[in-house]
Symmetry: C2
Subunit: 327 residues, 2 copies
């Protein structure tokens, strides 16, 4: 939970006067998300989300993120749409931060993941990947191999405080990934952070995707690997092959994966596990003692990494059962 | 900011099915309040507030609090109204906690207090005090003299960690309050926690009062003393007599204070300052290191207490200037 910046009523009223949204009825900080400050803003026109971008979101990236949401909404992908002021601008300043208002998306994120959720997710992810095909802006993935090396270097001196031999594990895994990271796979804009709390459902149906603030250009299949890690492990650490199969099968009904993409999945899963292990480890080692935000457990992703390290091929995921994920 | 309890989508949907509110569109934890878990719940009927009562709110007190809100709403006081399920009940269980849905109150609490806010507050507080005259339930104030002694005793061994000679200061103040605490003043149900974040405004007008979970029976003028402490000091610690005058003048236009109530204000202000000093001190000394909630500064109320200790009569508040607060 996180609201880093207080917005005064005077500041907010002056801000809202730049939109055609009527008067503010209410503005309450939302106890979710860890990167930015989010408020549920109710105006005479209805509910909206107000986001203030804190220091971990770089200002120069905001046009990419906002442009992406506009592009996706335009393509019929259910996601928040930045609201423009009467001057036609969506991005402005509030309380000394870059700030936008986006449309409100109905739905709740699922707390208990079922295979059905994973099927809906696969469809939505594949549609997202098709919809970005003609999006013209680019943002390199700062959290790929080079970024991991940088984080691992920063964490190395204290990594073993968190788990025995963690420093050596990180170094060995980085070397293995560097030697085996795929090349030439279909690329495009990926969400890159599609955890359950960024996917809304109404009843059984997926109602929208939020939080595009890690979106970047990378292999499309890497987005699937991120979802496999985030959606297909049980709380006890076990890998749920049924969920992974549902994710992949429904994805492929919309966008079939090439044999090279399928073959690359184990390495993409290892890379994705390392990515979240490293960012969580960094936050774990560097969060200020009095911080509001409880850092997420890096060891969850160390366990996932270790699982993927045992995988010698797709068969070990129990995915390859009679080609049910092939369309 | 505090949301202590996670509510799953499945639990929430089952809960909402007991009301005539349509389906849930959204439910987001609110990063405000420190005692209970609050959610902004949007259903097909509109926005509501869902509150889960955590352990600091005693279950046996809930009928008093809910009955009070119903009574006040009935009397035309703008405050949240508990929503009844189709079975006629407002209080039920969710995620193992007592839970209620209350109506949504438009408005924002003022971050920068002006004398005008204090005038609006005085009017609303006096109306509240008139409206409770025929409310028949009672709840003793657990945070009066006896409760202060209990808290001071618990804090005594470590009080001097927080401020030099704080233990002796607390003991001397308790003795002084015990010897001088007024008796026989007009009594009734008071809000007892009417800080700015519990008072909503729309534009210049007060739009409602929230958070009745400290309400109890005590001297009505003690509620004014709580407001004087919470609304009439500047951030630099100085007492703003103009704000206090506005508060009292507008209060008295609705409910004139007796000479005995006026004369008692300095002691009531000292008692109120000690009350918040003690609860904040207790929380300061006892909050778990990893807690989400940043404890409030007890020293703010030590400074207020010291100010009131220098007051020898109403004249020292600069309130008594030509009787402008007398109607």
């Amino acid at each position: 939970m996180a609201v880093y910046t207080e917005v005064t009523d005077d500041e907010l009223n002056a801000f809202i006067a730049q939109y055609d949204l009527g008067a503010v009825l209410s503005c309450k900080g939302i106890a979710e998300g860890v990167e930015n400050s989010n408020f549920l803003l109710v105006t005479e026109r209805g509910p909206y989300i107000l986001t203030l971008y804190e220091k971990r979101t770089r200002r120069e990236d905001l046009p990419f993120f906002l442009g992406l949401m506009e592009h996706l909404a335009d393509k019929g992908i259910a996601c928040p749409l930045p609201v423009q002021g009467t001057d036609g601008l969506a991005l402005r300043e509030l309380a000394g931060r870059p700030a936008v208002i986006v449309t409100f998306l109905a739905g709740m994120w699922p707390r208990r993941i079922t295979p059905h959720h994973c099927a809906e997710l696969g469809t939505a992810l594949a549609r997202l990947h098709l919809a970005v095909a003609d999006f013209r802006m680019e943002r390199p993935n700062a959290l790929s191999l080079d970024g991991w090396k940088d984080l691992a270097g920063k964490c190395a001196p204290r990594a073993d405080e968190v788990a025995r031999d963690l420093r050596a594990t990180l170094e060995a895994e980085l070397a293995a990934l560097e030697a085996n990271w795929p090349a030439g796979l279909p690329s495009g804009v990926i969400h890159a952070d599609l955890f359950p709390d960024n996917v809304f459902f109404r009843g059984d149906g997926l109602s929208g995707l939020i939080d595009f603030y890690f979106a970047c250009n990378d292999f499309l299949a890497y987005d699937i690997a991120i979802c496999m890690n985030a959606w297909c492990f049980e709380v006890d650490g076990s890998f749920n092959a049924t969920k992974a199969r549902m994710l992949l099968t429904s994805y492929q009904k919309v966008r079939p994966l090439s044999p090279a993409e399928m073959a690359a999945l184990p390495w993409l899963c290892r890379g994705s596990a390392l990515r979240f292990l490293l960012t969580r480890l960094y936050d774990w080692l560097n969060h200020p003692p009095g911080a509001f935000v409880r850092p997420k457990d890096p060891l969850e992703y160390l366990r996932k990494l270790r699982f993927h390290q045992t995988v010698r091929g797709l068969g070990d995921y129990a995915l390859d059962d009679g080609g049910s994920y092939q369309v």
